[in-house]
Symmetry: C2
Subunit: 346 residues, 2 copies
Amino acid sequence: MAEKNRQWCLKRRVEASELIGAQNFEFIETDIPAPADGQVLVRTLVLGTSPAQRGYVSDGRSMHEKLAVGAVMRGRGVAVVVESKHAAFKPGDVLTASVGWQDYSVHTPTESNMSIFNIAKITNATKPLSLHIGLLGGAGATAYFGLLDVGQAKAGDTVVVSAAAGGIGSLAGQIAKLNGCRVIGICGSDAKAQWITRDLKMDGAINYKTENVEARLKELCPQGVKVFFDNVGGAVLEAVLNNLATRARIAICGFISTDYAIGQQSGLANYGNLVRNRARIEGFYIFDYIPRFAESEAKLRAWYEAGQISSCEDFDDGLERMPDTLASLFKGTNQGVKMNRVAPDP
Amino acid sequence: MAEKNRQWCLKRRVEASELIGAQNFEFIETDIPAPADGQVLVRTLVLGTSPAQRGYVSDGRSMHEKLAVGAVMRGRGVAVVVESKHAAFKPGDVLTASVGWQDYSVHTPTESNMSIFNIAKITNATKPLSLHIGLLGGAGATAYFGLLDVGQAKAGDTVVVSAAAGGIGSLAGQIAKLNGCRVIGICGSDAKAQWITRDLKMDGAINYKTENVEARLKELCPQGVKVFFDNVGGAVLEAVLNNLATRARIAICGFISTDYAIGQQSGLANYGNLVRNRARIEGFYIFDYIPRFAESEAKLRAWYEAGQISSCEDFDDGLERMPDTLASLFKGTNQGVKMNRVAPDP
C-alpha cells in the first residue's frame, strides 16, 4: 500500500449562521495507519451524513461530543477490512463504524463496542453495502421507530411527513404507506413533490416554498393531521399545529429549519392547540432504540427484498466532495439518504 | 317562595386583553322558574370557577360552546332540590350540574345527561358539599389524571407544578407527594410559597414574580424535571424546557399566562429540548377521563377521609360577587380551588 490516507480535519468551528462547508475543514494526506494486535485497518467505502454532524463542529448546544480542532471529522460509514490483527475479522469483511472523513482508519473491536452504532460487522451483506447505513441502518430505524413507536401511526391515520424527500422522511413516508396510512409529504420543490407522490406513492405533496402549508394541509387533511413525523420544526410545525386531529401525535425527529437559524427563535406560539386537541409532541433519539434494531432491520429488509420499499439513496462521488455532501442537507438539495461514495463496493 | 331569582347575564363579550369582571355582566332579578313534569327545581349552593369560563364569553378560540349575549352565565355548581317532578329526585337531594350564575334553575334529568359533567346526584354526600365540584369533582380528577396518567408521575420522580397554589395545582402537588414524588411548586407570592411548602408539604417553592425561575429550577432540580404539570405556559414552560430530565413528561393542563395575552405570542423557542431530552409535551382534556372518574374519586376520597390531603378551597361569599370570583383566577389572588358560596349547605 504505497497509497496515502486522505483526511478531512476540522480547521475552524462553524459559526452560528454559517453554511458548513470546505472552509471549515482542511484536506490533508497522511500515511496509512498500521493496526496493532487486536485492531483492524479498514478502508472507507461509503460515508453517511446527518444534520447532527454540524453540531459536532459548532459552538452551539448539541447532544453529541464536540470534535477538537485539528481532528479528523467524525462520521459513520461502511468500510472493508484490509488488514486484521483481530480474531473475529479477516480481510474482505465489511462493517459499519465511525470511520471518519478519511480513506483509512484503525479500530479496536471489543465486546462492548461491537454494536449497531459502534463497530458492527455486516453479516447479511445485502448489496449495495450503503443500505447498511441507510435503509437498514440508522436512517431506516429512525424512520421506523419514529413513525410507529413515537408517532404510533396506525392503518387509516392521516400522516404528514416534513422533509419528505429527505433521507429519513422519504423512508418514513413509505413506511407509513406500508402500514395503511394516508400520507402527505412536505418538501421543497415541485420535482421532489412529483418524486414522492409518483415514485414513493405518497398520497399528496406540499411544496413549502411555493404553497401556503397551513391552507394546503387544511385541504389535503380535512379530518386533521393524526401523526406528524417532523424533521423540520419552525413554521411547518406551527402550520401542522393549526391542523391537528384529536389525539394527534407529533414525533420530532429533528428541526433543521430552526436549529441553525440566527437570533431569537419565534418558537411555537400555538402550542395551546396541544390542549385543544389533546395532542402530543415527543422528541426521540434513535440510540434509545438500539435494543430493538433487529426488529426494524428485519421488517425493512423484508419490504426491500419484496420490492415494496425504495432505499432512496442520493450519492456524491469522492471523499474530496464530502464537505459539500454534508452541506447539501442544509441546502435541501438532496433527494433521499445523502451519502458519499468514497470507494466502490468490493 | 316569594323570593326572586337573581341572575348574572352576559351583557358584553370580554375583549382580548380585558380582565373579565362585573362590566361584562348584568345582575338582574326574575321570577323563580317552575318545574314541569320530569323536571327538578334546584337552588344553587356553591358555584365553581374555571379559566375556560372566560372562553365562553370571549370572541377567542375555545373548545367550548359560546354563550349568547343576554343568557345566564354558564357555570357548574352544587345545588339542592327544592321541588321535584322527577321520580329519581326528592326535595333535599343534592346534585352537581351546570346551574349557571343564578340562585334557582330548572333541569331535566334524563338517562343520557345524568353523568359526572351533566346532572350528577350526590349519593355519598361528604360535607362540605363543595368537595363534589372541587377535590372530588373536576378539579381533583384533572389533577389526578393529568399528573398520573398524562404525566406518568412515579415514586422518586422530581415533579414541578405551576400555579401550585391554585385550585388544580394545589391538588396535583399533594397527589404527587402521596405518590412518592419530590415536588417543587411555582407560585406568585411568598405567602403562597410558604403555604404550599408548610401546609401542603411540597418540597420546594419558587416565586415566579421575584425569582429567576430557570436558575431556581436548576438549583432545586439538579437532576432535571421529570414531570411538569403545567397550568400556566409561556415563560414558565420555557424555563422548564431548559431544565428537563431525560424522558421528561409535560402534562399541559392550561396556559393561563398566555392564552389571554395580547398580540403575537413568543411561544416555545426552545422546544428543541424535547428532542435533546427525548421528552414529551401532551395536552389533555378532563372530559376524556369521565369513564375513569370513579377511580380518581375513590382515591381522593380515601386520602381525604384519612386526613392525607387538604381540599384547599378558597371561597367568596355571595352570588353578587361572582364576576370577581371568576376574575380572581386571572389575577392569581386565589389560594386553592376558587368557589363562591351562594347559599349555606343544608
